[in-house]
């Protein structure tokens, strides 16, 4: 790791100020990707501005069916929230299978979606739930937020402060682990929301998380795993690597989508 200075921000305003003062600085919100990248000397921020200790960014609030998860809420808190599990168990399940216990107690939802790793779980949940990403400057619909591999709609210095969504009527997540890293080789989040059925796929797309409109249409008219049997998954835009080529990934997208529907009930 190259030398870096650590700053613990006390508020969002404080964080923004610190970031403005350090041109080559970076926000840190768990650091489950950033710190290992820095250890490999593949990233060299001069300053790390830690958002994890800003009280306003932590916690889950529920108002009726409206859910707001603070950006600095660790995965373990989401996985363990009884109130959230009562109205949206799928997102708790998703969070409970991210990484290992260490990661789940350090990593945060804001950190995960701001990084937008193509194999991360949260992007599927956030996109599948038609969530809104709230920042210090604006609100961004999930459909607009994830733009490409490790790319988001965030502008330089912009901070994710929360993720909010309405609890869906039904939702489910199914994930097939990469045998080595146990990141999602394919993860599919399905949800029946007030704005319609949504199917979001992570781990598979060449451009990161994506929605599968064929599956959405099929499930809208018939919410069952069988409804997906005859829908093709195009492998041309899927990732190919040592552990899964595009053809195998296409198969897993369908299998995991079916299992997600079964999990949703």
């Amino acid at each position: 790791m190259y030398a870096t200075s650590y700053h613990r921000a006390s508020s969002v305003e404080d964080a923004v100020k610190l970031r403005a003062a350090h041109e080559e600085g970076k926000y840190l919100s768990g650091g489950m990707t950033l710190i290992s990248t820095m250890k490999q000397r593949l990233a060299a921020p001069t300053d790390l501005i830690d958002l994890r200790h800003i009280a306003a960014l932590r916690g889950i609030s529920i108002d009726g069916r409206e859910v707001t998860i603070g950006a600095a809420t660790p995965h373990a808190d989401v996985a363990g929230s009884r109130e959230l599990r009562a109205i949206c168990p799928a997102i708790c399940e998703l969070a409970s299978h991210i990484g290992d216990p260490h990661v789940r107690h350090m990593g945060t939802i804001g950190g995960s979606i701001a990084n937008n790793d193509p194999a991360a779980d949260y992007p599927a949940g956030v996109l599948g739930l038609a969530a809104t990403v709230i920042t210090d400057r604006r609100s961004i619909a999930a459909d607009e937020f994830f733009t490409d591999l490790f790319e988001t709609a965030l502008e330089d210095g912009e901070i994710v402060t929360a993720v909010s969504f309405d609890a869906p009527e039904k939702a489910g997540y199914a994930k097939f682990n990469n045998p080595a890293s146990r990141f999602a080789m394919v993860g599919v989040f399905v949800a029946k929301t007030s704005s319609g059925v949504r199917v979001a796929v992570t781990g598979a797309g060449s451009n990161g998380v994506f929605r599968h409109s064929g599956f959405e249409q099929a499930l809208a008219s018939n919410w069952s795993a069988d409804a997906l049997s005859n829908i093709a998954v195009d492998s041309s835009n899927l990732l190919s690597d040592l552990h899964a080529n595009a053809e195998y990934r296409a198969n897993l997208v369908k299998v995991m989508a079916k299992r997600a529907v079964v999990a949703a009930g």
Partner: protein
Amino acid sequence: MGVEGIGARVTRKEDKRFLTGKGRYTDDMTVPGMKSAYFIRSPHAHARIKSIDASAAKSMPGVIDVLDGKQLQADGIGNLICGWMIHSKDGSPMKMGAWRPLAAETVRYVGDAVAIVVADSIGEARDAAEAVIIDYEPLPAVTEATAALEAGAPQIHPEASNNLIFDWQLGDPDATDRAIASAAHVTEIEIVNNRLSPNPMEPRATLGIYDSAEDHYTCYTTSQNPHVARLVMSAFYNVAPENKLRVIAPDVGGGFGSKIYIYPEEIVCLWASKKTGVPVKWTSDRTEAFLTDAHGRDHVSKVKMAFDADNRITALKVDTIANLGAYMSLFSSAVPTYLYATLLSGQYAIPAIHANVRTVYTNTVPVDAYRGAGRPEATYLLERTIETAARELGVSPAELRRKNFIRSFPYQTPVIMNYDTGDYEASLDAAMQAADWKGFAARKAQSEASGKKRGIGMSCYIEACGIAPSQAVGSLGAGVGLWESAEVRVNAVGTIEVLTGSHSHGQGHETTFAQLVAGRLGVPIDSINIVHGDTDKVQMGMGTYGSRSGAVGMSAIVKALDKVEAKAKKIAAHLMEADEQDVVIENGELKIAGTDKALPWFQVALAAYTAHNLPAGMEPGLKETAFYDPANFTFPAGCYIAEVEIDPETGETDIIQFVAADDFGNIINPLIVEGQVHGGLAQGIGQALLEAVHYDSNGQLLTASFMDYAMPRADDLPSFKLSHQNTPCPNNPLGIKGCGEAGAIGSPPALINAITDAIGNNGLTMPATPMKVWQAMHAAH
């Protein structure tokens, strides 16, 4: 069996320090003035070094010096060598290319060490390394052994034309060909043994300390055999004469073979310590370990197995190409030859065997022994082949094996080995019963009903441990003897230190070796210390690999104990005025049989050291040394059965049950033996289902971290069902055979046999990842 003696389930004495973080590993060592080293490594798989410019780096903060291969050569440091000479079938010696500890002219794999930076901190060393300007001229590279043999392939060493190191054979080619020509059935198969990274928990590390006042070197290192390290560094690398070089291998966190070898880093850090005048420490990080620790396996073989009309095996013909990587590592030549082809008879009476082995240079990490070393390759090949034959012949795989078992001992195979004892049917029967083999069909039907594919597979392995005897291995090309040493040192108050030439890096010697002594003398296990791993403390010894420390290392302790006991009995007889023939040692006392006369053990020890009243002419003291050279290898054998269920939608394999029935001869500590089998099975299952080293076509290592190299985790493994059969080894005093590698040797073919049984496609290669199983199922339909 006493509560602490042979056969007792004694919990490991060493675990207190390991489990409380109090172990002392090489990286824990600090000495005054110590500096950090960082190795600059080749980013190219094959390139010529045109120039190295370290001038800017040398003036950076904290930097002591930057040293390169030309300086190392100028100081007369020698090249790394392979210590086992193999001759090709035309009589020519193996073609060993030069392996310089720091490459001076040419780099031959990604990770090849080029220069060392010594600095106050590792951060400063790494910063400076980035400022060293190395001008490389990239050369074409080749990573696959078969491709490296093709005409026009990049030439890696001038000494080895067509990259061929040797073309060796064992057995009778004519008799084998004749038997195949007249066979009723011949099974032909191509067998690929995947390339693995050893991944011990503790990465390699070394601390080189040069003392200019004494012109003396101390080397702390992560070694399985510190005396061999000293011998080789002294005799071949010109680091220092043996009496000026102390090698210490303190606590070592796993080796699996990868810490047998002498690597460039030990030599370079010792040399750099003299050059810079400061102690120099280097610790590998995990990616560096993937890039530089010797890999294992990487064979491609063509096999023919011939049967007569009665389904008896009449011949086996094997043509193997083994990838040895960019350089010949210390024992690399022995692994695909005398540790492999000599086991090709397996548990079967095969009248004619012929093996041809070509070893090849490629632009990859050197390949050497990895848990099992040659025997897993032989076992996988044989057990996949006989399983395939059973399917082709339409007979039960268990009965085909049973029919061909060797049943009378000693048995001379056509490939050197002379099996001393065994009962293969006992293990087969025990395993089939434990697995409820008969109930499989019903279980399979149940799986089918729930949309799953169920399969069952077995493997009957034999292996050779305690590699021996010295004279025999010497005649086959070994550069060292393969005996072991022990000194039993009884202190004046009766406590005991055992100095062993074996080395413990996870095996639990501090417990099992102490159990042996406690059982013999009837003294508490806590009064016995096992000392190992320091060339200044312990007499010359050969270290630990090849499951040799029980069969060879403990046998040396037995010999030394025999001498200690004989002397103690003489002293006791003298003190109690009895005949020494009447003295027995029991429960910590020396007693005169048939009387109530007895002396506690400590009093006899004290008498030996006060020397006030010893038998006439007897030297004072109670301390004896013994060297034990075995008469033969030992031959652990067993039967493993795997039962799997495949999810046809994803290709995922679920191991429903795994049964291991092993004959290790007599067992010292069942708890430790079970742990060894569990660990071995985990590694074998890792090879079969998860692990594989991959290079891209330019020779870049794609699997250089745990993000891409899949290690077995606890939830990948079932609860194992173990049992032990016992035909005591007749060739060592304890009747033990060795258990450290069997799990890794026997398990891969059992699993692949089970998976191919489930999916009905025999063309599957390891590792059987979900994608490959899914693809094979699609190809099968």
